[in-house]
Symmetry: C2
Subunit: 428 residues, 2 copies
């Protein structure tokens, strides 16, 4: 499997470039140039929720100490610890997902948290990351005040909310999970909420059309995703219905919270093949792989699993590191996958699960080192000296992304965008 995956990754993710270097219109023959990769085209993503306070200057610069003399835990008001976490984050990822859960973003109607989220999005963008907003419409963590409205008013509020956020963030966030978990939205029965009400009345496809139309109108160049956790035929049927109805979807989001165990290559590839049939780019969103005890298989709604303590263990960390490598190799081996988003850099996020790349104490786990060694080593071209031939040419094979070539203090950038042979002319 793994050697197959490696070969497929080379096939789908690398270009074999012939670079012709000129200076003042003449081939730069017989010279040494240095080629180096600057970024990946593939989107290695992760949630960036922890960095909202940091990006907004809300953290104390010295560790805050509790009454018992112990420093606060990660994510609390300690700029230094969050900055170290940010360094780890930025060394691994180029794609950040920021939280737009309506119930938290606008708990009081008319007072959205726009400023703080925009500062955070800019913070990531300035560091070279693409930013995605998640989600614009979802029945979970939706605004409680919606339930006081009539259905037409809920629809208007939902569409207004989408237009506002997509407009307010255009240029900083141009990628959105427009609607989340529409498969169960109209039949969700755990508690009353505005989204389930309107989805039940309108039907899934008309609601999907409305929310995509609102987002598209607000930012015609945005990348708009349909996102779901349901990997069954239900999501296939929804996607087919949405596409047959003529609604344009830019990418399909497939969630992959694996709290009950790694899916393995076969299941993952089978899912990818089923959803690749629609010809859309796939974002493998919301990946979680645990480094501790797995959640029992009989839990259906993961939210039902509540434990007081869920530690990361040495054996769990080894297993997680192995599974991370297998999982990312599997994803990159499939040509439809355009992005991954890991769900939670640090342990103790959703459900308190040990699903991070970093322990609660801020130290990276083996999974962090394993993924870093793929992203920054195995799948990366470090600064590499190459001698040009008499025609000024050098050849090399590299992962798709942005590169630079330098000689004698001059540097030019270029991109490798398509797998396979590539010819690039650069004037240094």
């Amino acid at each position: 499997m793994s050697s197959d995956a490696d070969a497929l990754i080379r096939q789908h993710r690398t270009a074999t470039a012939t670079l012709t270097v000129t200076r003042d219109g003449e081939p730069l023959a017989g010279q040494e140039v240095v080629v180096a990769q600057r970024s990946h085209e593939f989107l290695f993503g992760c949630t960036g929720f922890e960095f909202v306070p940091l990006a907004n200057g809300e953290l104390a610069t010295a560790p805050e100490v509790g009454p018992d003399g112990v420093a606060g835990s990660l994510g609390e008001a300690d700029a230094g610890r969050v900055e170290r976490l940010a360094d780890l984050w930025l060394d691994l990822f180029n794609f950040a997902t920021l939280p737009f859960y309506w119930g938290r973003f606008e708990p009081e109607r008319g007072r959205p948290d726009t400023h703080r989220l925009r500062e955070t999005a800019r913070w990531f963008a300035e560091r070279g990351c693409l930013v995605k907003g998640h989600p614009l419409a979802w029945h979970t963590v939706s605004a409680e005040w919606l339930t006081e409205l009539s259905n037409p008013e809920i629809v208007e509020a939902q569409l207004g909310r989408i237009r506002r956020e997509v407009t307010d963030f255009a240029g900083v966030i141009d990628t959105w999970d427009v609607i989340n978990e529409a498969v169960i939205m109209p039949i969700f029965d755990r508690y009353d909420n505005g989204l389930t009400r309107i989805c039940r009345e309108l039907g899934r496809i008309p609601l999907v059309r409305m929310v995509f139309d609102a987002a598209r109108e607000a930012n015609p160049t945005a990348t708009l995703l349909l996102n779901d956790f349901d990997m069954s035929a239900a999501y296939e049927c929804l996607v087919e219905g949405v596409l047959e109805a003529g609604i344009r979807i830019d990418a399909l989001g497939l969630q992959s919270h694996m709290h009950q165990g790694y899916w393995g290559e076969e299941k993952t590839l089978a899912i990818l093949d089923r959803f690749a049939r629609y010809g859309l780019p796939i974002h493998f969103t919301e990946t979680t792989l645990l480094s501790g005890q797995l959640m029992p298989a009989d839990i259906v709604d993961l939210n039902d699993y509540q434990v007081s303590d869920w530690p990361s263990t040495p054996e769990g960390e080894e297993r997680q590191a192995d599974e991370i490598v297998r999982h990312y190799k599997t994803l990159l081996s499939h040509p439809s996958v355009r992005a991954t988003t890991y769900w939670g850099m640090v342990d103790g996020g959703w459900l308190g699960a040990p699903g991070g790349f970093v322990r609660a104490d801020g130290t990276p786990k083996p999974s962090y080192e394993a993924l870093r060694s793929l992203v920054r080593d195995e799948w990366w071209v470090p600064p590499t000296p190459l001698g040009t031939d008499p025609h000024g040419r050098v050849g090399f094979t590299g992962f798709l992304g942005e590169y630079e070539v330098s000689t004698a203090g001059r540097t030019v950038t270029f991109r490798l965008d398509e797998p396979g042979p590539a010819t690039v002319d650069v004037a240094l």
Copy 2:
């Protein structure tokens, strides 16, 4: 529950009629008339596969005796036994489903079993039954010779087959399960077959459109069903997609093989409510309730459960009778349900399960008597003498269906088609 169901059944299934009887233009005042129900509007259905040999005169008229001196089992060449079964069938049901499984109907290309099926359909129609053909497109029991064709040829053969059957049977069979189990059709992976191939290539909705268009074109007045066993959100999503794509479905078929136990009122009503949202009549197709041991809950594909002997038991028969009453009451209490189809009158059909109303020896079970007492007693108006008032009027409440009113050797029929108050004028 049951009293609620009874009240809802009265509300949705009965009319309170005021009958004005005239003779030669004058009210028939102060006379006795006899009102009697002739048929149900509700479709009480069952498979009628066993009666193909009977309707075609293929059975011996004397019991056939095997080499050990024991009479052959039911369904074998014994006209008397099958005729007794037919009497039981016709006393309970008014809606027959006949088998059009392509692989059995046309095992050799170009030699369809049209004549025998038409004789059988006529046999039922002459006995006052509506007849449905099942199914026109399905990946299971599809014709094996399809796998030797290219995908465009399979599509052409499938559509040609639909046009042929729907045309050949028009007037005798005007109700069709056009496509069966489209939810899993493109991802069915147990064996190669022509239908899965074309559904995977075309997508579910385009295939549904093609097969419905072909059937509709061949018989514009037919009642055309989409039928599925998948009661999850997947089928909802498929239905929504099909309807959003503008494909006209006349009724939704919901299978209900309950080999793993009766669903109960709550689950059944929840399913009905979810699928009633589309405003289509619902046929509760393929109902099975066992009078023996239940299939273990961990079986996913019911076909995987293979036992050599699966007896009907006294306790199982009592349970089945109780569940039959609860199930039929639940279905009739919901206004969207237009038809039920029980799957197998006699034990030992699909999977050898004891799911019939009749034991393998031909004797009716308690479930038979229980359903008969609903259909022909509790939900039925027997011949009832009523005295007309000075305006020639009599009043009565009856289940929707066809009635007759008689006096002095004259009989006129009339229908009660809508629940609630009804005024009917009859000239005797």
